[in-house]
């Protein structure tokens, strides 16, 4: 293209023609430029429109994806067992007070009038109004009850202000932990039609008066806020609508940039286009951040109502609603428990706005502004009280739910954890570990595990995995896999006694030096704990006194794989090595494994794998899954009775005889000690409860403690406290059918009589009683008198 000349020339007709031509050309050129410009502009506009449309489309997808799916990650909550109340139940005043404290009940001096209140009369009569609660098997409505406790037993249970007896009542369970999403957000969802009108009115009066008129953004509010801010010389008002606030909370980061503001406005518009005002309002009411409880963030008005007033939203007074609405502006600045005066002023501001909107009369305003904030005690619902137990709950849940679901689906997990037993277990651990360390110079840096389960159902009731029970770290109950020492012995003797034609409690075992060639051509010579040999011992004596050498002999005679099979039948799932020293427990199990094994002894041969979860509900309270009681009769009850008979004798005359004068109820159990006193064990039980204790050091060094001088001490302390509260049922000594008690000679194992010297009475499986008579030397008169009284 030629450039137009700058200098004008004289015009001649030819020139004129030429000029015309040039002008025409110039016109064409400028037209072409215009055309090209228009065309580029057109494409540009199309491109920009396409980009904007795509971006809006993207934002729209972002909004609808979140709104149509699970908007929030709801934490799962773990509940303890509900306390069952019925006449005759062992329950102390102290225990009931503790339970009500953990349930955040409020003690009042007058008659209780609201759910969650109680009073005590004469330190033994309780009147309380329970709260509504959804159990796995249905809803239980709030109810007034009164009960009396006499001599550590619930002696009467009635309806409140009535003589009508209640045969059985479940208190709602204590919430013991939350399994939180990464954001640590806690909320309770509420539907809009359940939200009081006054709260909605107050919220709109304060945060967004033209909520029902605007389309997500409100220019009038923005201008009004700008003017107000200019007048005040700072930010005193925000122009954001509720929709914008919701968009900011749900989709955007808190940074203050122009881009975020533009996104906020666009998304607010899109949200309004896609969703009804009621959906937006309901989502806002559930989303808004209203406080902090430790690490947990309090979101939504319903949870905030519970957190600040211990009441559901619909039960709040209007001044309390006004406070919650006032907190939206700054939950930390107006935190009512820390900054009471600020909170009162803010509440009163909101009340005034409610007056302006006609929601209050002047008289009501005067009345409400004069009121105290009416805050409840700070609840403890969010703290994880029992870290080791919650770890077990999570592990057992993981077989059915993935981690993400646990943290975000709002599951309600009902467990068998008993807070009363747990607190006793924790107290015993602290007390005894300190005592052991101060009494034994070699015992230092001790660590421990204590597991308590119900004997018959295998439900975990308590578990401590650290000498500092609140410490959340290595879970020794589940992960400390240590040699079990003599805890193996009952399994070996059980293997023998399942062959009654061959072995009885009166069978003779050799207690003489033994040398075994192991597979590595190394000689192994097992020793007894006292480094002595007693010649011959009867089978029951070998177990009672925990003799090593006769046990190894018996084990080798039975076959190591048969012992391994018995262990599996008892509930041990780990692989058991089959080398000779396994007969002395030279293989490792966790305390939880040991508890599984001894549960089968405690339940007379029925193996019930230990569990902690009973039921799971979804966030709406609908049943999802139940973990039912399943039994497996693994061992003949007659054989197990014979072993249990000896396990009881151990607590009377054997290695755990210190128990005989410390507990009045009969118990059964076995001590365990490993080489160089590295591990100290005791596993013991009654008909109702089983407990396993391990004491050792994390570096596997010597503790200086045997099973009897270490673990048994902790076990005894714990059971003594159970007994004090009356919550200990004796170990049953009643034999099953097919068992005969026979007097035998304590040395030879031959038939004897009660009057004979050295005679002992032992149970035998029918048909396996000894037939040969032993010589009878008459017992002295004192011995006979003793036997008479026994």
């Amino acid at each position: 293209m030629t450039k137009p000349k700058n200098k004008p020339r004289k015009s001649t007709p030819r020139k004129k023609k030429s000029q015309k031509k040039k002008a025409k050309q110039s016109k064409i050129h400028s037209g072409l430029r215009g055309y090209l410009f228009n065309r580029y502009a057109f494409y540009g506009v199309i491109l920009i429109t396409l980009f904007l449309a795509s971006y809006l489309f993207y934002l729209n997808i972002k909004i609808t994806d979140k709104m149509s799916g699970r908007i929030w990650s709801l934490p799962s909550h773990v509940y303890a067992r509900p306390l069952e109340l019925y006449q005759g139940k062992h329950l102390t005043v102290k225990q009931l007070k503790l339970e009500l404290k953990q349930l955040d009940y409020l003690r009042v001096s007058n008659r209780p009038t609201k759910p969650g209140q109680y009073r005590i009369l004469n330190e033994s009569h309780f009147e309380l109004i329970t709260r509504n609660f959804t159990f796995w098997d249905g809803k239980q409505k709030s109810q007034g009850i009164r009960l009396s406790i006499y001599k550590n037993k619930l002696s009467a249970l009635h309806k409140l202000y009535s003589d009508e007896t209640i045969p059985l009542f479940r208190l709602e369970p204590v919430k013991i932990a939350g399994i939180y999403p990464a954001t640590q957000q806690e909320r309770q969802l509420i539907k809009l039609d359940e939200v009081p009108d006054d709260l909605v009115l107050a919220l709109l009066a304060v945060e967004d008066r033209r909520f029902y008129q605007h389309w997500g953004i409100d220019p009038r509010s923005i201008i009004r806020a700008m003017l107000a801010n200019v007048m005040a010389g700072g930010t005193v008002q925000g122009g954001s609508t509720l929709t914008q606030q919701l968009v900011k909370n749900l989709f955007l980061s808190p940074e203050r940039t122009l881009t975020r503001k533009i996104n906020e406005a666009l998304m607010a518009l899109l949200l309004e286009i896609n969703y009804d005002k009621s959906v937006i309002l309901e989502t806002y009411i559930n989303e808004v951040y209203l406080g902090q409880n430790g690490a947990q963030q309090i979101h939504g008005f319903e949870l905030a109502s519970q957190y600040y007033f211990a009441k559901p939203l619909k039960k709040l007074r209007r001044d309390q609603m006004a406070l919650l609405v006032g907190l939206v502006k700054g939950p930390s600045w107006y935190a009512p428990r820390r900054h009471k005066q600020r909170a009162v002023e803010r509440r009163n501001q909101v009340l005034k706005l409610m007056l302006e909107r006609g929601a209050l009369t002047q008289a009501q305003l005067n009345k409400y502004t004069a009121l105290d904030l009416g805050l409840a005690n700070k609840p403890r619902f969010s703290s994880n009280r029992y870290p080791a137990l919650i770890d077990l709950v999570k592990r057992q849940l993981k077989s059915d739910y993935d981690e993400e679901d646990l943290r975000s689906s709002g599951l309600k997990v009902f467990t068998s954890i008993d807070p009363l037993i747990q607190s006793q277990a924790q107290a015993s651990v602290k007390r005894v570990i300190t005592r052991l360390e101060s009494a034994n110079p070699k015992a230092e840096n001790l660590q421990t595990s204590l597991i308590v389960a119900s004997s018959q159902q295998g439900e975990i009731q308590a578990m401590v995995s650290d000498r500092q029970p609140d410490f959340s770290g290595f879970n020794r109950s589940l992960d400390a896999v240590r040699q079990i020492g003599s805890l193996i012995k009952p399994a070996i003797f059980l293997t023998a006694l399942q062959q009654p034609q061959k072995y009885t409690l009166a069978s003779t075992l050799e207690d003489t030096p033994l040398h075994i060639k192991t597979s590595k051509d190394v000689m192994w010579s097992p020793q007894n704990y006292d480094k002595k040999f007693s010649g011959n011992v009867l089978l029951h004596q070998a177990l009672e006194k925990s003799r090593n050498v006769p046990t190894v002999r018996l084990g080798l005679e039975l076959g190591l794989s048969d012992i391994s099979d018995t262990l599996q039948n008892l509930g041990v799932t780990r692989k058991i090595p089959t080398y000779p020293s396994m007969t002395l427990g030279a293989f490792s199990l966790s305390p939880f494994d040991v508890a599984n094994m001894y549960q089968t002894f405690a339940a007379n041969g029925f193996n019930v794998p230990l569990k902690v979860i009973r039921e799971v509900l979804n966030k709406d309270g609908q049943p999802l899954k139940r973990y039912p009681l399943k039994s497996n009769k693994a061992i003949d009850e007659k054989a197990i009775y014979l072993v249990n008979h000896v396990l009881h004798q151990i607590t009377q005359t054997g290695t755990a005889k210190s128990l005989a004068n410390k507990l009045s109820q009969a118990v059964a159990g076995k001590t365990g000690t490993t080489d160089d006193l590295r591990d100290s064990w005791f596993a013991g039980f009654t008909d109702d409860q089983l407990a396993v204790v391990w004491i050792g050091r994390d570096d596997n060094a010597s503790t200086g403690l045997t099973g009897a001088s270490g673990a048994l001490q902790l076990w005894t302390d714990f059971f003594q406290h159970l007994e004090k509260t009356g919550d200990l049922h004796s170990f049953s000594l009643e034999p099953p059918g097919g068992i005969n008690n026979v007097w035998i000679d304590g040395e030879s194992g031959g038939l004897s009589e009660k009057k004979c010297l050295g005679a002992v009475e032992l149970p035998f499986i029918q048909g396996s009683e000894p037939t040969e008579k032993a010589a009878c030397k008459s017992a002295g008169i004192i011995e006979q008198i003793k036997r008479f009284f026994n």
Binding site: E84, P167, L168, S454, Q457, P628, S631, K633, D687
Partner: protein
């Protein structure tokens, strides 16, 4: 004429058929009506629930839970029935009546293995109750409760 007669014969036959059909329908309706009149559980032996006899030395709290469980059982809420029986076992595991009922619920659920296991558990704690022992033994031996009713 013949055609007409034949036609008449056909019509008579058809009418007779209709009467039979109506009669059969009536019989069916009566039978169904009879079924709904029958108390639940009577038609199917597995639906029956052993009564909690006064002679059983059961505390009120256990009786309350057994009755609640029976009601759930009859309403076909078998999971609920099991859960209620487990509550009773937590309170006191030494009542064979409760374990036996668990066996019965498992039987109804078609879980023969657990039915037998719980019948065995019932026997292991039963005292002087030959009727219940016979009931349990029947479950253990045959996986059925039919002949004990």
């Amino acid at each position: 004429m013949q055609v007409s007669r034949n036609h008449r014969t056909d019509k008579t036959f058809f009418q007779l058929g209709l009467i039979y059909k109506i009669a059969a329908l009536l019989v069916l309706l009566l039978w169904l009506g009879g079924c709904t009149q029958t108390r639940p559980g009577e038609a199917d032996p597995a639906n029956r629930v052993l009564p909690v006899e006064d002679s059983y030395d059961l505390p009120d709290v256990i009786k309350t839970l057994i009755n609640q469980s029976d009601e759930q059982y009859l309403n076909q809420n078998l999971a609920g029935s099991l859960a209620t029986l487990e509550r009773a076992i937590r309170i006191n595991p030494r009542h064979g009546e409760v374990w036996s009922r668990m066996a019965q619920v498992y039987l109804k659920l078609g879980n023969l293995e657990q039915a037998k296991q719980h019948a065995k558990r019932s026997n292991s704690v039963l005292k002087n109750n030959p009727q219940l022992k016979a009931f349990n033994d029947r479950i253990i031996a045959t996986g059925s409760v039919e002949s004990v009713h």
